[in-house]
Subunit: 361 residues, 2 copies
């Protein structure tokens, strides 16, 4: 496993820091305390490259023996950016996994093609919106679902803030939205995809997932960084029989390069569709970084399905066509609050969004 | 619930940014899309204070209605620092919870007094070390345990890098170390506390915990930020009957103020003892911040037990007395690699560590 970091600081210290990084991310003892041949050869990480990058930094690449990972999803993350994350001047920027570890993590079970199939959209960018704001009853949210579904939006997901509230219990919400999904499918002949938000401790999330699947939900969403990447893995590879969308809540707090976290790690852990804050939103995300992030989600990795990029974060109806053209066909546009900005024009704005993306595809 | 953030940027924009923060962390729609009385009163967050702080920043405090949290551990975190974490110029610096949410999170089940009782140390700072480096067999680690236990170290924990490796399976390691624990207790009349590291996806961690408890383990450790805070909560409040230590791996990547994350959040979620990187270590942690962090862990919160500060990160035997004096009686010193730096003097260095802390207490 090769991991790269950007390390800020004086060039005079960089070789020592690179060695310290390799120790910290593997044996976590001073070099003098590594006295065993097996540990030196099979456990100790090695510095592979130190290259100047930017004004005051270096890119340090280390290789960590596969044996140290125990092929466990949590331990892999521990070795990638465990203790070294505690140094404020280190950012983790790249991870390359050998085949054995790709096979251990497994990646998406559905990926782009599988997600498309579930959503029933073959050959253009997908459209997505969120049921919000929080505070509405299940019936009110199901009514919003009807408006969006009639307008032809492909994927209609819970806002990531919809939890198991007394005023909107998870199970009632799922039932009401699935009912609306079937009703509008009968009416229009087109079935939008309802995606509930799973949130809670692992016991709660596993219970919500089981309920959703038993009741016919065809995809689910969760926030992997909030719940923990290992929980994402269990959901994807031990529990879910439907595609999983990843929401970025809490993820910005991580000192990972966004391309790495959203582009590679979430996919490797199993997310089929990954929401990220895009340019053209209320978040300050550069186009080049967005391009790399989306490309990384879809790039070819042997044995690992591609995952669907879902740009969001406040994209407006007016800019949807431009954003769709930027990300290309294998993407899903998420427009949320902007559909609801005028009380009496939600259906109209939703149709405009749908048409803009269809035209772009 | 009141949450405070440091927001960098021009003073002219701060009022608008504070309002945007309150929207982002609650309804997550434009203000114009909030049209319902109930949502406006019971869900929408409000700006409580905006105060200049530092050269180019402000401290923004918002209040988030308790109803929005659903009293769920994951949803609380979502509302504290969900989407807003995606803005790189925002740091979350404080959280104040009302009684209802303190009761929902519950905090430590053992806390300082309970941990002391399990470790059998009444009235001085505790000593702690780690079994490492990774790469050793269970028997080799158990032998290290014997050396440390004979030297009188109170708490001997797995390194956070010890997973369920083929060369050192979790179950064999736990059995071997518990055997060594009992053996040295018979020999010396003093029982050191063995603390295994739980690591993996939730299913794996729950299974490891069950095995450890069935076999007589009296405390466990995990890395909450690596596994996810919601997993910490399930372990503490639905699964564990023994105290839980929190390891900081992966946590530095969070854009939380360290005092908040290590001092308050981990305690609120249930950690009984919290390891953090201290001054006097190989990490760059200022004394004042360490002081606040330790004070926060031990400060009085009605209905919530205090948690034990565990300064670590590379403290040396030579500085242990000074560090112990700094943190005071209710603390546990963690010295790891420095005990092992000379192959033939591990026992001697361990005794020197124990004596230094005993003298300081």
């Amino acid at each position: 496993m090769r991991v790269s970091y950007l390390v800020r600081g004086p060039a005079a210290e960089i070789d020592a820091r690179a060695e310290a990084l390799a120790l910290e991310q593997s044996v976590e003892v001073p070099r003098a305390a590594v006295r065993d041949d097996f540990i030196e050869k099979e456990i100790l990480a090695r510095v592979e490259a130190v290259v100047p990058e930017g004004d005051d930094g270096h890119r340090v690449t280390i290789s960590i023996p596969e044996l140290a990972t125990a092929r466990d999803p949590a331990q892999i993350l521990n070795l990638v950016f465990g203790n070294s994350s505690l140094h404020e001047d280190i950012q983790c920027v790249d991870v390359e996994l050998p085949e054995t570890l790709l096979a251990a993590l497994r990646g998406p079970r559905f990926g782009v093609a599988g997600f498309r199939e579930v959503a029933g959209v073959a050959d253009r960018p997908l459209t997505c919106t969120a049921l919000k704001p929080m505070g509405q009853t299940p019936e009110a949210l199901a009514d919003s679902f009807r408006v969006f579904a009639r307008a032809g939006i492909d994927v209609i997901k819970d806002d990531h803030g919809l939890a198991d509230h007394a005023f909107c219990p998870f199970e009632e919400r799922v039932r009401a939205c699935l009912h609306a999904e079937a009703e509008i499918a009968d009416e229009t002949g087109r079935r939008s995809l309802y995606v509930p938000n799973l949130i809670g401790t692992p016991d709660t999330v596993f219970r919500q997932l089981a309920f959703a699947q038993e009741n016919g939900v065809r995809a689910v969403m969760l926030s992997p960084m909030l719940l923990g990447l290992p929980t994402l893995w269990d959901v994807c590879h031990r529990r879910a029989s439907v595609p999983v969308m990843a929401h970025p809540s809490f993820a910005g707090a991580q000192r990972f390069a966004p391309e790495l976290l959203f582009g590679r790690l979430l996919r490797l852990y199993g997310a089929d569709a990954v929401i990220f804050v895009s340019f053209g939103s209320r978040f300050d995300a550069g186009r080049e970084r967005c391009r790399r992030l989306a490309d990384t989600l879809r790039e070819s990795i042997p044995g690992v399905l591609p995952a669907l990029p879902v740009p969001g974060g406040g994209i407006g109806v007016a800019t949807a066509a431009r954003v769709a053209a930027f990300y290309g066909r294998d993407s899903m546009l998420l427009v949320g609050g902007d559909l609801q900005i005028e009380a009496n024009r939600v259906a109209e704005r939703s149709r405009a969004f749908v048409e803009a993306v269809r035209a772009a595809g």
